[in-house]
Symmetry: C2
């Protein structure tokens, strides 16, 4: 993970070593006033001090004989003193960036002095037992007690993960002066114990989009009690701070040329634009793509088939399994590969039917609907054939059609065609493993030159790290949110017509996919 070169290094937290002129009868400013006077003169203005820490900090000024180390944080409106210690504190200033995902929490421990990433780690979101999907968790959180329980679980997971990362790095929680978090709107609400119940009902209104800065102690986090805690703002109920962090990480909001960013996760979230304008929308395209709905679908984890090749002559199947063991299922990218390869080999028709006239033992017609065997029982982890049925394919095509529809609709909204795009970012844990060549063949992504596509990994973590290293991005984030026009797709009528055409392989209108050579067999 590399910070972009255009970043101005001006960290969110600054450490200064201060040597105050000792008081005398001619300069009798009080201890705290003396400290603040010097800090303000050094540019830390306006400057706020948390009242309850003053007794301790003025003692530190005396204990250090007017030589102190001060940590200051910028909260977007003003500087805040985070800590005052006697003498000269050495060692680098630490901070965390965190990706608050519905499924996984990812943490990045950063050295703000050098700008380097020290440790990264992740943990399962501990709320999963209370709902794999966001909606179930929202319903569960209707009771105040449950809302607090969900928050408490997250806090524990945050604290445990951060503490063990610090231990590995040989550092302590008191050295962590900032935490920057990117999460979707609901996850941000659950992290802060904010009522999420209006997020899922028309007109889909979050409790809060722009969060004030919190402090470590207010959220009982295992970091410095006065550490700044920043959450990227949401644009709407279905466009959260994680996406905003992604925009920042991509840099698309700075480019003269128009680009598109799609985050493929549980939802597909799309941003289109450039330095002048940004338009965004989100829609439920993901579940099947991610491998969640298809019968043998699974998350990208050991045992998942993530790459597939089919010989169009022999129908021999070559696949790769994550972790190199026997296959247990298919993850999203494996599924995309499989559908694309089945289509190219003529095993799937343009309507998404399995071509039973293909002569191969892999065409299994023993069930209610035809199926295709990716791996026979003797090759799999559970001894059962790993196959996809026509029903699975149908489910998958709905997802890919939804995805392409969302992309088409957002382009239409601004009167642009895909060819106007100079860059097409594919992000999200699943998104960035997609092979664009395969996704184009099945009509999931538009038919653009492959070098237009760019996979983005860890966009939330990167966006968070960037913000930690350049507090100027606080204003930029606000400007981006201000600039984004969010379209609520749930009520868009144009959708259904686009969707029907996109259900085909690659599409009912082949002119949209000139590079895809549809095999004869698929036209049957």
């Amino acid at each position: 993970m590399k910070l972009p070169s255009w970043l101005t290094p001006r960290p969110l937290v600054q450490r200064v070593h201060v040597e105050l002129p000792p008081p005398n009868l001619n300069d009798n400013a009080a201890d705290l006033d003396r400290l603040l006077r010097l800090l303000r003169k050094e540019g830390f203005a306006p400057l706020a001090v948390p009242p309850l820490y003053i007794p301790r900090w003025v003692r530190a000024v005396r204990a250090g004989d007017f030589k102190v180390t001060v940590h200051l944080g910028y909260n977007g409106l003003q500087w805040e003193i985070l800590d005052v210690s006697p003498g000269r504190v050495t060692g680098s200033v630490l901070a965390f960036a965190a990706d608050l995902g519905t499924t996984r929490l990812c943490f990045y421990l950063m050295d703000l002095t050098s700008g380097r990433l020290l440790e990264r780690s992740s943990a399962a979101n501990p709320q999963i037992p209370y709902g794999e999907d966001i909606l179930t968790r929202i319903l569960f959180a209707r009771e105040q007690e449950n809302l607090e329980r969900l928050q408490s679980l997250l806090r524990q997971a945050f604290n445990q993960t951060m503490e063990s990362m610090l231990e590995r790095a040989g550092r302590s929680s008191a050295e962590v002066f900032a935490l920057v978090i990117g999460g979707n709107t609901t996850m941000s609400h659950l992290f802060l114990s904010l009522d999420p119940s209006h997020i899922c009902r028309e007109p889909y209104i979050p409790a809060v989009n722009h969060f004030p800065f919190y402090h470590g102690e207010e959220l009982r986090l295992a970091i410095h009690p006065r550490a700044l805690v920043y959450l990227f703002p949401n644009v709407g109920s279905y466009f959260g701070g994680d996406l905003v962090a992604g925009i920042i990480a991509s840099g698309m909001h700075l480019a003269e040329e128009t680009s598109l960013l799609v985050d493929v996760g549980t939802n597909a979230e799309v941003v289109l634009g450039n330095r002048h304008w940004l338009i965004a929308c989100a829609g439920a395209a993901g579940p099947a793509l991610e491998g969640g709905v298809v019968e043998r679908g699974m998350m990208a984890s050991p045992g998942a088939v993530d790459r597939v090749r089919i010989d169009p002559e022999t129908f021999h199947v070559d696949f790769h399994v994550i972790g190199e063991g026997k296959p247990r299922g298919l993850c999203g990218s494996g599924l995309i590969d499989l559908i694309a390869e089945m289509f190219m080999a003529g095993i799937l028709t343009i309507q998404g039917k399995i071509n039973t006239r293909c002569d191969s033992p892999r065409i299994d017609v023993s069930g209610d609907v035809p199926a295709f065997v990716v791996a026979f029982g003797n090759e799999t982890a559970d001894g059962r054939d790993l196959s996809v049925s026509e029903i699975d394919v149908g489910i998958f095509l709905k997802s890919k059609a939804a995805m392409f529809t969302i992309l088409t609709v957002i382009m239409n909204k601004v009167g642009l065609s895909f060819n106007d795009l100079k860059r097409f970012y594919v992000a999200g844990t699943f998104g960035n493993t997609i092979d664009p060549a395969m996704a184009i063949r099945i009509g999931m992504l538009p038919d653009l030159p492959l070098d237009i596509y760019q996979g983005l990994q860890d966009t939330v973590g990167l966006g968070g790290m960037m913000l930690l290293m350049d507090r100027g991005l606080l204003a930029e984030v606000e400007a981006v949110c201000e600039r984004i026009t969010y379209i609520e797709l749930n009520v868009n009528m144009e959708l259904m017509n686009e969707f029907r055409g996109a259900l085909f392989l690659p599409h009912t209108d082949p002119r949209l996919f000139p590079s895809v050579n549809i095999p004869e067999r698929a036209l049957v």
Copy 2:
């Protein structure tokens, strides 16, 4: 107590009734963002929100169906939301001003809606058992535990007094949204649990002069948890927020003409200046003046002689006792009257000796030193003669000399004479009971036309109430502190020479007191 007419009514706390446009698909700002947007548009910007209250307040927005009552406070840098309640909250907005005196605490319950004073009350400072004077308390507070104990005692006294005042007014603590406090530097430190130990050692440096705003909950005060708590800033160790409040109350910092304000309490604190400049100093002049050191001296309370007249022919003594009972001692103003009348009757010489040649049974030469009997045993509360000895007079003269010296020194500092003063304010619980005519006769106050003198009562309370009603004074207070040049008298060499002349009645240089006709007998 009347607020001055020049005050701009713009209270520190504002209540607004807000009716938010309900969200829809075209205006999908989040609940909190929607509220803040409207408040900012109404001029409350920059605007801060305490993070931990957000969950509650967004629920209030929904509970009130987007109609809420918001209380906002201005902290000098920005507005803060203090509370959000569903619907329309009625009844006036309340606030307290408090005079945090070394001896007494005075409270003023104010209706910020009308600007009226609803209740006033006072209580003894509960720290007295730990030291009548400030120095003893500072020494006691060296142990952290003791410092916290002193704070806790003050808190209890504040809470008890404020609660009973609210009860009398039929109101509740949750309706109190601000508390403005004026105290001397040490008392402010003890109220906030700040180490006061450097206040009393050269170079006399407080821990803090300019306090940030606190909130009710941070000090565990029986007011609204987010109520703003403001302490007037100190100028130095011996020039506290109480004096700054007094300057504001007097309005001397706004006048084109030069005036002088002296606060006579345990110390004598003096400010000289006008709208262009202010100079201040303080010195230990008070104890004897206040009646604290003289053998039969006492505080101005029932049983204290506060007015004395002596017939220069018959030496008959006429006096007034506070509470109209039998006398037990002499308070400050009674002592000044007595010394002045003894001098005018020729019972005291210009050197402060008792003229034993006066023919009166009141001249008591039975002891080691001569004394003058104010009231014989049959007239007094304890059956003992109430008298002052030559030693008492000597102690008193030192105090009055210190006072006059301080006044002279500060005038000399700026090259002005007393005749340049257009107004001479005498403040402080003791100060404003002094009869200037008497104080001039003994050379304690300069010989100026009597209409130049103006007694000021409750200056701290008035200054606090003014600040509550006009937040614009926050900046004015800072400007006043900025403008004040504080002179440390403890190290001024000029003092001793001035002091020696001022030990006489009225002074070694009679040209300074042309209006005082020194009786023949006093020249003996």
